[in-house]
């Protein structure tokens, strides 16, 4: 009796586990409506493998997909997305796409570095693009798509550094001259955002203090709240968060405690529900542009592997999102400083540091 019922329960649980793992392992997006008359034809098939965040992360995965969708619409390439639920899905997903003849294949996220390095030599005819991956060494069919996060952070810093001294602009701005930064894990893209932010603040106002808190996670919204509260209590009136979903918590802390927030990666005015005029702007990474440009090179036949590309302000690879609700009340002086900083960086008269 005992062993039989144990077996049954073991079987049931095993099935449950398998079912839960199978969920959303590989999702095929609905086929796009074909408009044969207008779309130029090409036999390029581009694909991407998401990080564990998956589609709907309102960040890199979605942005990469937006780049692919644009390529589908404007260049007529066939596209495919495979979602990874676990890091163990990376390799099988990439293999599956490479075997099916997709090229270029984009691996989204720093965490896929080793997988791409391992799989790429097995498919010499396929081009691989790694979002946020700096390959070292870099194979001849591999392209690293990196971003100058520090330049986006720099512009965010200019906004914060200017605005935090303008106590008349908004009642939420105090006279303490302190701004905050919340980081997720201490990995290079986040550190570059921080370094740029600090440099931006200091460039417009050397006596403004920047206080940083790292939470050690990209998915812990509760810690994001507490980190935000800690900074606000420490005098910060503007907080810039480069921390994924942890940053959503920081945004809530800013909203509840009458402080201002700067978002990251995508335009978070659109991605954080009900954020309104708590958000000033976002330091964005135009992953969509980088993906689209790479696919376009594949279509044009000019795609060249074996290099790490770095997209900055000049390449329209990073930037500052619109001010949205703040557009009307953002002091002209701040807007002018941002435009000037942007021009300086593009012209090369200002070089933004990558580390503090």
């Amino acid at each position: 009796m005992r062993s039989k019922s144990s077996k049954i329960v073991a079987l049931l649980l095993a099935l449950a586990v398998m079912a839960s793992l199978a969920v959303g392992c590989a999702k095929t997006p609905a086929p796009a409506p074909t408009t044969p008359a207008e779309t130029p034809t090409t036999d390029v098939k581009a694909a991407m493998v998401t990080d564990v965040g998956g589609l709907g992360d309102k960040s890199f995965n979605d942005l990469s997909y937006a780049g692919l969708q644009r390529a589908e619409k404007e260049l007529g390439v066939k596209i495919q997305v495979l979602e990874s639920k676990e890091p163990t899905d990376y390799e099988s997903n990439i293999n599956q796409l490479a075997t099916a003849g997709y090229s270029p294949i984009f691996a989204v996220g720093f965490l896929m570095t080793d997988t791409v390095t391992k799989v790429a030599p097995q498919f010499p005819d396929v081009n691989f693009g790694g979002i946020d991956i700096f390959f070292d060494p870099v194979d001849s069919n591999v392209i690293g798509l990196n971003f100058k996060e520090q330049e986006a952070g720099y512009l965010a810093g200019v906004v914060a550094g200017k605005l935090t001294t303008m106590t008349d602009a908004d009642p939420r701005i105090n006279d303490k001259k302190v701004v905050g930064f919340v980081g997720g894990m201490e990995i290079p893209p986040v550190q570059k955002f921080e370094a740029g932010f600090v440099a931006g603040v200091k460039s417009v106002n050397p006596d403004v203090q920047v206080k940083s808190v790292y939470t050690g996670s990209f998915t812990d919204a509760q810690k994001g709240i507490e980190a935000g509260k800690s900074l606000i209590e420490g005098g910060a009136d503007i907080v810039f968060a480069a921390a994924g979903a942890t940053g959503n918590g920081t945004a809530k802390a800013c909203k509840d405690n009458k402080a201002l927030f700067i978002g990251v990666d995508s335009d978070q005015y659109n991605t954080i529900d009900g954020i309104g005029d708590t958000i000033l702007t976002s330091a964005v990474k135009r992953v969509d542009n980088a993906v689209f440009m790479t696919v376009k090179e594949a279509v044009d036949g000019t795609i060249k592997g074996g290099e790490n590309k770095i997209f900055g302000l000049a390449e329209d690879g990073v930037g500052l999102a619109p001010y949205h609700d703040w557009d009307a009340k953002m002091p002209q002086e701040v807007k002018d400083s941002v435009d000037k900083a942007k021009a300086d960086v593009i012209a090369g008269t200002v070089t933004v540091p990558e580390s503090k």
Partner: protein, 318 residues
């Protein structure tokens, strides 16, 4: 600098960070005292966090969300109870299965209900129970500020956590139910011989644990964060398991241990603001709660004696 670090907000932050862990850990203590290991608390918190937000968004009322969160958690803990008590499956396997199932189920329902993975829309979080006016100046004002922030500034479920820690400790050591509960975990055969229904007693304990884990998930999403993100519990259920051991399998001890974990976390978030004065990398502070957990599990802080029959399925003589 000391007065900038040690503020009333530091302690309030510790309590807020501790509460989801504490609520789950209190339930865990009851569950393990009955002889059933509940490693599924992480999964139960995740499921209830999701169910709470989904229901609150659907009905537009956070309290309905709390109710649904607890209901979902109790239902899933019933799976654990059925598997580990009636079918005498390995309790750790059953709990692990629920943890993995929770990740998959919430991810799947996220896509079917909200149409996308990642983070849900935001619900209006539950307000603090009391909203008292700030104190005036002077010594009295400062004292009032400390009392207000450290003790009176919380949302209702935080007080439920404090109350249940006291109540369940009393119940465990001062009532007939508590004596029987402890007997189930120490020597279920002896308890059975004197006429205690072992299976029913363990079922009740597992369901109480599910109830508390449900409150933990509800506190996390409906009182604190306001939205659900996949895997947002980030191992809090496992820290709760450790807190339960640190607290020597008593609800009160589990609560105090959770407070310690919460305090370590709040302190590291605070100390990072003074990194120009204190030259210690943030990773050091981030690892403090985990070092504490390891120290506890290694038995350094006194000997932690588990209930003698915990983890062992019980078979009634038939």
């Amino acid at each position: 600098m000391f007065s900038e670090v040690v503020t009333p907000e530091l302690f309030a932050s510790a309590v807020r960070l501790a509460t989801p862990i504490a609520l789950a850990a209190i339930g865990g203590a009851v569950c393990e005292r009955s002889g059933v290991v509940n490693i599924a608390m992480e999964g139960l918190m995740l499921i209830s966090a999701f169910a709470g937000v989904a229901a609150a968004l659907l009905f537009g009322n956070a309290w309905i969300g709390v109710f649904v969160a607890v209901l979902a958690s109790v239902l899933f803990s019933a799976i654990h109870a059925w598997a580990s008590i009636n079918l005498r499956a390995d309790q750790v396997i059953s709990g692990t299965a629920i943890n993995i199932l929770a990740l998959g189920v919430t991810g799947f329902l996220m896509e079917t209900i909200f149409g996308h993975p990642g983070t849900t829309d935001t619900v209006k979080t539950i307000k603090p129970l009391m909203d008292l006016p700030a104190g005036g100046g002077g010594v009295l004002g400062t004292i009032w500020q400390w009392v207000d922030v450290v003790f009176l500034s919380y949302t209702p479920l935080v007080y439920v956590g404090m109350f249940s820690a006291v109540f369940l400790t009393w119940a465990m050591y001062r009532t007939r139910w508590g004596l029987r509960l402890r007997a189930l975990g120490e020597h279920p055969r002896a308890a059975d011989t004197v006429g205690i229904n072992v299976l029913r007693g363990r079922w009740v304990a597992v369901l109480i644990s599910g109830f508390m884990a449900g409150l933990a998930g509800a506190n996390l999403t409906l009182e604190q964060v306001g939205s659900f993100t996949e895997n947002m519990t980030n191992g809090r259920g496992f820290i709760a398991l450790a807190a339960n051991i640190f607290g020597r399998w008593t609800p009160g001890g589990a609560y105090m241990a959770s407070l310690l974990f919460g305090f370590a976390d709040a302190l590291q978030l605070k100390l990072q603001l003074f990194s120009d004065v204190i030259k210690i990398p943030p990773q050091f502070f981030l690892m403090l709660p985990y070092i504490l957990t390891v120290i506890v599990l290694a038995g350094v802080v006194g000997r932690a004696v588990a209930p003698a029959s915990v983890g062992k399925p019980y078979k009634e003589k038939g």
